[in-house]
């Protein structure tokens, strides 16, 4: 501290460093050991049905991820963004949504997509290279995957501002009141766009939940590069609350996200949820995390597996029987089959069709390019090589 005046204590001392494992702020309802704990502010009475549902969702989400990873290995996908380890964060968030709520995902929100009713097969198109998002956002209120990191947080804020104008916020009618959830990663939090989204959302009190999966890494860069205090504190400076939840705890993530969404729907404005979790796999199937992180870390996080802890809890409390697991296994296998077969059957785009999607109606200019290209392609017809040379 300088002798010339005090700036208060070091904030990293007050708040703890960015990576501090949990810390006093962490909202948790289910420990890694599968013990149900309670939180004074955020809790929820889960029925056995609900708990089994959340377990099932996580298992199926992991199955989607495992299948897609295998499909990539077999050359059926060009790349895949794995979510291994982030199932609780995504299912907790995804199940807290109502149909009228709208989701702005990154490229990794396969679990949320599943919760919103998007056929997981649709997610593969982008990674296979047959489309750039094969679902209709309006159908399930689930936006297209966004690859430019952070860009979607502004879309989310604008969409939420649209909801305000539509009179579907703070009406008191739960069927009507709506909110938006914006997903992004810890790395994305450094983008100007994300910070601008915070500013716009705060300024207009927009009904948006900024849901950040802090999976500790942005490819090879650790969370410390993006912030020196716990990330959820970022929200404070923008004038809205930030909460850190155990992102490997589906119950806590559900409870906190539900509360944040409800707050937004009621017209109380934005909030920031940091789901503290871990990317157990590689960044994508082309990444090699052994170049930048230690195996110890991974082992440490394996003990916090989101699926295992709920399984222990369900078992210990007699909420499931073998039949449940067997049925789920069958269901997962069917899902796997659906993905494997479906993926290979995804139709390749037709080169000439692409010209039609640039604008709402094809312009003459583009039509001319299409026609010229069609004529050019036709000129090879009958040739043995498919090409002139």
């Amino acid at each position: 501290m300088s002798e010339h005046g005090s700036f208060g204590p070091d904030l990293a001392e007050v708040f703890g460093p960015s990576h501090a494992d949990g810390g006093p702020d962490l909202v948790q309802l289910l420990t890694p050991e599968g013990e149900r704990v309670h939180h004074p502010e955020f809790d929820h009475d889960f029925s056995a049905e609900e708990l089994r549902g959340l377990y099932r969702d996580m298992v199926l989400t992991r199955r989607i991820d495992v299948e897609a990873t295998a499909l990539q290995r077999h050359g059926e996908l060009g790349i895949w963004a794995q979510l291994l380890g982030q199932e609780a964060a995504q299912i907790g968030a995804g199940r807290a949504l109502r149909p009228q709520d709208y989701v702005f995902p990154t490229y990794r929100e396969h679990g949320v997509a599943y919760c919103k009713g998007v056929d997981p097969l649709r997610l593969l198109g982008l990674f296979r290279g047959v489309d750039q998002g094969g679902w209709d956002p309006a159908e399930n209120n689930f936006g297209l995957y966004t690859i430019v990191i952070g860009a979607q947080t502004l879309h989310a804020t604008g969409y939420a501002m649209g909801m305000q104008r539509d009179g579907v916020v703070g009406t008191g009618d739960p069927e009507r009141d709506s909110a938006v959830i914006a997903h992004f990663g810890d790395g994305a939090s450094s983008q100007g766009d994300v910070n601008e989204a915070f500013i716009f959302a705060a300024s207009y009190n927009a009904p948006v939940v900024f849901f950040c999966q802090n999976n500790q890494w942005a490819i090879s860069e650790p969370i410390e590069r993006q912030t020196r205090i716990p990330l959820h504190k970022r929200a404070l400076g923008f004038g809205f609350p930030g909460i850190r939840v155990d992102g490997n705890d589906v119950l806590a993530t559900y409870a906190v996200t539900k509360a944040a969404l409800q707050r937004a729907r009621e017209g109380n404005g934005p909030s920031f949820v940091e789901a503290y979790t871990y990317r157990m796999g590689a960044h994508t199937t082309t990444d090699d995390p052994t170049r930048y992180r230690l195996n110890d870390e991974l082992e440490h996080w394996k003990l916090k597996d989101p699926i295992e802890r709920l399984k222990v809890y369900l078992r210990r409390n007699g909420l499931v029987d073998q039949e449940f697991f067997d049925d789920l296994d069958v269901e997962a296998k069917e899902l796997g089959h659906h993905l494997r077969e479906g993926c290979k059957a995804l139709p390749d785009p037709k080169p000439l069709d692409q010209f039609g999607y640039v604008f709402s109606e094809m312009t003459d200019e583009i039509a001319a390019q299409r026609d010229e290209f069609a004529a050019y392609l036709a000129s090879f017809e009958g040739s043995t090589t498919g090409g002139g040379h």
């Binding site: 750039q132 956002p137 430019v148 879309h155 604008g158 939420a160 104008r165 989204a197 716009f200 583009i366």
Partner: protein, 328 residues
Amino acid sequence: MTANQKITLAKGLNMGLRKAMEDDDKVLLMGEDVGKLGGVFRITDGLQKDFGEDRVIDSPLAESGIVGTAVGMALRGYRPVVEIQFDGFVYPAYDQIVCQVAKYTYRSQGKVKMPIVIRIPFGGGIGAVEHHSESPEAQFAHTPGLKVVACSNPVDGYWMIQQAIAHDDPVIFLEPKRQYHADKAELDESATPEPLFTSRVVRAGTDATVLAYGPTVKTALKCAEAAASEGRNLEVIDLRTLSPLDMAPVYESVRRTGRCVVTHEAHVNLGMGAELAARVTEECFYSLEAPVLRVGAFDTPYPPSRIEEEYLPDLDRVLDAVDRTFAF
């Protein structure tokens, strides 16, 4: 029936925005100072007062934020009209424009429309400091998925802004700021406007074709007058649309005249003139008596305003180029 008014470009745009907002309550205006102040050029004057703060939205000072939230609004079914305060301040929003606004329709295979209009006062000649006189049209026209238009006069301003707002694709709408309060023209609100994405012969001629848009249309017309006094009859085309280009009237003209000069305030290197020259040459190869010549700003940054008139294309430089095409 009201009598025709004489209006400035600023007024034409203001009236056109008002009309668009009356016609469709999904139309919103967003930007810096567009509300109470009515924009630094007063183009949105009075609109917040009449349509409320929910429809004329003063935004935080962040261009990426403005365009990014407009994308979200469009996804929700609104038709946002964004004002960028000056041309040189559009770049913080460039990423949202080229990666999101331009691509969302394609990305969704046509399922999602992006009816966003991004209004940009553009061009120089107003004695301003740096970043207030840029001509960024090529940086947008090169991007598939964007449409780019430029108005040059009050009547076009009135109609084109309404057409752009009613259009389902994103439109970069360029307004020659130096013309905002310059000349007046008579507006007949009961007329049927030409379609948005069309070019227009604004002066028929036989000896050479001059292509212009936005602020240089006036220059080109003056140039044609001067040439006429020297016995040369120039045809002037106001391109109006920069992407897509409407080349039919251009080809038709150049095939007749055999000579073509393009003028814009943007840098010559990779400016619209490059594309126009390339296309005209390809299509009218055997009709050309001379290469297409380009008159634009030099390939140097926009200079201090004391020498901007020497930097921008003017009557003399355009005429010089016309002369040169005759020397071939």
